[in-house]
Amino acid sequence: MASAGTDDIATSSCGNSLDGKLCLQLESNSDCIDVLRSMVTVMTARAAMSDLRSNRVAIAVDELFANIAAHAYGGDPGMVEFETAIYNENEDQMLIFDFRDYAQVRWHGDIDKITSQPLDVEHLCPGGLGLRLIHSVADCCEHNVLKNGNHWRLIFNIGDGENDECSA
């Protein structure tokens, strides 16, 4: 998990994208989650992921979008650019999702630190589960603070990196 200050992003900078990149620009309304789910379904089918893994990918994408909508934009409409593709890097294939927001709130948290804290099951409070779910299902979650927003990248290994039976 990474976070760094950057002027802007080049979303296709890692490896070689195969044909079929999907891009979308949308407002951070909660009903747009359903649009993202459709794109996740397409990409996980292309990646030949199992239903269980596809659901896990959908959860991570859903949670990240919800976090941007609720926390970066504070529930107000804001632009989110979304891009997904399957990349080749050496012998490995990865399914990658990029999110770019233009929120004034730049997130400076530490995902590893937040998610490494034990869950207090005796004093559960609603909320706060989203990052835990993202952390437990994505092979990598990167965050870059930009001058005018945030960039998030979710990476899911395909093939050898996929382990449906892994316990989070």
Partner: protein, 110 residues
């Protein structure tokens, strides 16, 4: 993908209610689940069963709503049970490490 959330409420006995949920529970729909659940937590109702066998997708907002339900049931001295979880929904509870916190039945009572 079933983006509309629907509910069916059944009175199993004078103090037992079953709430069947149909559709995906997401940040877009979980407020409706909360609206349906909250009025059930009264002193009179001792057991609330939430049937999730027709829920294929649930995110953390749905889980958070059910956490609230569990807490409401503790406050009213009731019994809060989830039943019929699909593999995907059960997996999300497991990922969130909440599969042992809730009382979960394999299938809803007749």
């Amino acid at each position: 993908m079933n983006v509309a959330l629907k509910f069916e409420r059944n009175e199993l006995s004078s103090n037992e209610v079953q709430l069947k949920v149909v559709g995906d529970v997401t940040i877009h729909t979980s407020s409706r689940l909360r609206e349906q659940l909250k009025p059930l937590f009264t002193v009179k109702i001792k057991r609330i069963q939430v049937v999730l066998d027709q829920v294929d997708f649930m995110d953390s907002s749905g889980i958070a709503t059910l956490v609230e339900g569990m807490q409401w049931s503790r406050m009213t001295g009731g019994h809060f049970v989830l039943s019929g979880l699909s593999d995907n929904v059960r997996d999300v509870f497991s990922l969130a490490k909440l599969d042992t916190v809730f009382e979960i039945e394999d299938s809803p009572a007749a």
